[in-house]
C-alpha cells in the first residue's frame, strides 16, 4: 500500500486500462501535449501516442458527441472535461444522446463511455467554474454518476467505470488532485454502487461524498473531543446509490446529517433525506439535517466563498442540533 496523489491515481487508472484494452482512448482539451489542465494525463501521450491520447479543440459538444458515436460503434472512450462546469456546453449530448440511446434503440446499442474531470468550488474561479453537478446528471435514467473522494477510489472507481458498459460520469475535484492517500498495490477496482463506511459510530450517521468527506473528517476531530461518535459514510457512487448501507446505519444511530457540495434545492442531500424519511421513519429520533452549498451563485471573494460550500463550522453546528 503506497500513498499517492489523487491525480496520479486517475492517471494510473487510465494508463492501466488503456494497456489492457486497445479500444480505450482519451480525448479532451489539453490532455495530450499539455499533460492535462490538472496533469491527470501526465506521460500518457508518450506512452500511447497521439492516436489514443487526443487533444481536442474547445468543442465540448463536438468531442462529447464524438465519444458517444464511437462508443455506439464499440470503442470505449474517456472524455475529459477540463471542469464539469464546461460539460453544460455538451449537456444535450450527455442527456439526450448518451443517456437515452440504449433505451430509444430498444436495447440494440450500448454506450460504454466515461466522462470525467474536475468539479467543485473553493478556488476563487467564480460562478461559471465552480459547479458540483452530480445531482443534475444523477436525475437522468441511463447515466451513472460516481464521485471519488480518495486516491484509492479515484483509481478504483475510474477503472470500474471504464469497464462498465454504460455512460458514466466520474466527477473529480480540484481540491483533491494534490492530496495523497493510500492506494492498494496492483490491480484495484472499487465497485460502482457501493458506499464506504469511513468510520463506524453510534451517535449519528453522516452521509457525505466527494470533497466533503475530507471536511467531515476534519470536523470529526472536533466531534471526537466533544464525545460524539459519528458513523461516517462516503457514498462514492451517487447513481446507483447504496441505499441498504445508508438505511442500515440510520436504523442503528437514529440520527442523520447529510453533507455535500451540491446546491440545497433538489441536491444529493435532499434525495438522501427524502428516502431516509420514508425507509427509516420509525427509527429517526430527530429531523434529518442537511449541510450543502448555499442557494446562491459562487462568489469570487474568498471571504464569501468559504461560507458557500460545506465547512467545519456548519457541519458541527448541524451535528450538535441533531444530537441535542
Amino acid at each position: 500500500m503506497a500513498k499517492i496523489a489523487y491525480r496520479d491515481a486517475v492517471r494510473d487508472a487510465m494508463s492501466e486500462e488503456m494497456t489492457r484494452d486497445s479500444r480505450v482512448f482519451l480525448i479532451g482539451e489539453e490532455v495530450a501535449q499539455y499533460n492535462g489542465a490538472y496533469k491527470c494525463s501526465k506521460g500518457l501521450l508518450d506512452k500511447f501516442g497521439p492516436d489514443r491520447i487526443i487533444d481536442s479543440p474547445i468543442s465540448e459538444s463536438g468531442f462529447a458527441g464524438l465519444c458517444i458515436g464511437a462508443a455506439m460503434y464499440g470503442l470505449r472512450p474517456i472524455a475529459e472535461f477540463m471542469t464539469f462546469s464546461f460539460s453544460f456546453v455538451a449537456f444535450d449530448q450527455i442527456v439526450n444522446n448518451a443517456a437515452q440511446i440504449r433505451y430509444m434503440s430498444g436495447g440494440q446499442l450500448k454506450v460504454p463511455l466515461v466522462f470525467r474531470g474536475n468539479s467543485g468550488g473553493g478556488h476563487q474561479i467564480g460562478a461559471t467554474h465552480s459547479h458540483a453537478p452530480e445531482n443534475i446528471y444523477a436525475t437522468f435514467p441511463g447515466l451513472k454518476v460516481v464521485v471519488p473522494a480518495f486516491a484509492a477510489d479515484a483509481k478504483g472507481l475510474l477503472k470500474s467505470a471504464i469497464r462498465d458498459d454504460n455512460p458514466i460520469l466520474v466527477i473529480e475535484n480540484e481540491a483533491l488532485y494534490g492530496r495523497e492517500s493510500e492506494v492498494p498495490d496492483g490491480e484495484y477496482l472499487t465497485p460502482i454502487g457501493k458506499a464506504n463506511i469511513l468510520q463506524e459510530g453510534t451517535d449519528l450517521t453522516i452521509v457525505t461524498h466527494g470533497r466533503s468527506c475530507w471536511t467531515v473528517l476534519e470536523a470529526n476531530q472536533e466531534l471526537h473531543k466533544m464525545g460524539i461518535h459519528a458513523e461516517i459514510i462516503d457514498l462514492r457512487s451517487i447513481k446507483p446509490l447504496d441505499w441498504p448501507t445508508v438505511f442500515a446505519s440510520v436504523r442503528k444511530t437514529h440520527r442523520l446529517v447529510c453533507v455535500d457540495e451540491t446546491k440545497p434545492f433538489c441536491g444529493v442531500s435532499s434525495q438522501v433525506a427524502a428516502e431516509v424519511s420514508r425507509a427509516c421513519f420509525d427509527h429517526l429520533d430527530a429531523p434529518v439535517l442537511r449541510v450543502t452549498s448555499v442557494e446562491a451563485p459562487m462568489p469570487f471573494s474568498s471571504a464569501l466563498e468559504d461560507e458557500c460550500i460545506p465547512n467545519v463550522a456548519r457541519i458541527i453546528e448541524a451535528v450538535k442540533e441533531v444530537v441535542a
Partner: protein, 344 residues
Amino acid sequence: MKKKPLPTGAGVLASTQPLPEYGTVPDLSRDQRLEWYRMMYLTRKFEERSYQSYQTGLIGGFCHLYNGQEAVAAGTFAAITDADPVITAYRDHAHGLMRGIRPGPAFAELYGRATGIVKGKGGSMHYFNVEKQMYGGHGIVGGQTALGLGLAFATKYLGEKKVCFCYMGDGAVNQGTFHESLNLAQLMKIPVIYVIENNMYSMGTSVDRHSAPVELYKRALGYDMLGVRAEGMDFDHVRQVSWTLAERARSENLPAILELMTYRYRGHSMSDPQYYRSKEEVEEYRKHDPVEILRSRILSEATVNEKDLEALEEKVRKEVQEAHDWALASPFPAQSEIYTDIYA
C-alpha cells in the same frame, strides 16, 4: 437502349473545391437497380400508408414523411455498402427501410407496438437497425452530427477503411454542434460525409429566412472542407457524386459536405397547414418526382418492361398492406418494458 456511363460531375451544381477524379461509379446489375427502385417505391407506399394511419389516429406524436426525398437515401446508400455506418435525424423512415427494417416492424414502431423495431420505445423519430449499421433516428436537430463524427472516428480508429454518411436537414446547419463537428472532422481527418437534405424548409422557415448563406455547401468553406451541391432528385446522379465523396473519404480520410437539392411533398410533420408555401410550388416539384425519374430511366434501358414493373409494384403494395395489418394485430408492450434497456 443501353445505359451510358455518367460523367463524374453528373448532377453536380457547385463545389468549394474541384471535385476529385475517382472516375465513374461501378454499374449496378439489372437486379440491383430494380431492387433500389423497389426500395424507393416501397418507401413511397409506406409513407402514404403512414399518412392514412396518422389521419385515422393510429399514430401518436410526430411523424415526418419522406415523400419527394427518396432519391437522397437511395442514391447515397447505393454508393456505399451495408457495412458503412449511417445515421440521420427524425425524418428517418426511408433510411430505416433501406437499411433492412422490414415494413412490419417499421409500422409496428409507429403504432407503438411490442414488435416495433425498437420495441415501441422510440417511435417514428427513432428507428435503429444496428445489424445493418443504421444508427438512428435522432430527434434533436443537429445532435446526430457529432455522433456521425464519432462513428466515422471509430471506423478509422479500427482501421476499417469505411465511411460514415451522416444525414441532416437544411435547418440543422445552424446548430453549433454541427460546426464543432465540421471542424473536428477536417482537423482530425475523419471519414464522415455530411449529407444535407436540402428540402428548402426548416419546418415553415425557408432556407433564405434561416441561413445567411443560402448555398449551404459553402458552410464547408470555413473549415477548408470540400463542400458540394448536387441535384438530389435523380438516383443515378446522387449515386455518382456520393460514390466520389465516399471513395475520397475511404482512401484519404477526408470528410465533406454533400448538399442535395430535394423537396418534401408533405407538411413538416402531420399537423402542418403549410401557410408558408403555395400549392403551385408543390405541384411544380412533383413534376420532377424521384420515383418517376428512376422508373422511366429503367424502362428506357429496356432491361425490364412496363408489365414486369407493374407486377413488382403490385407486390410492394400488397407487402405494405400486409405489414400494416400485421403491425396492427401486434400487442402493445408489457408495462414491465418501461424499466428494461435503461442500463446495459
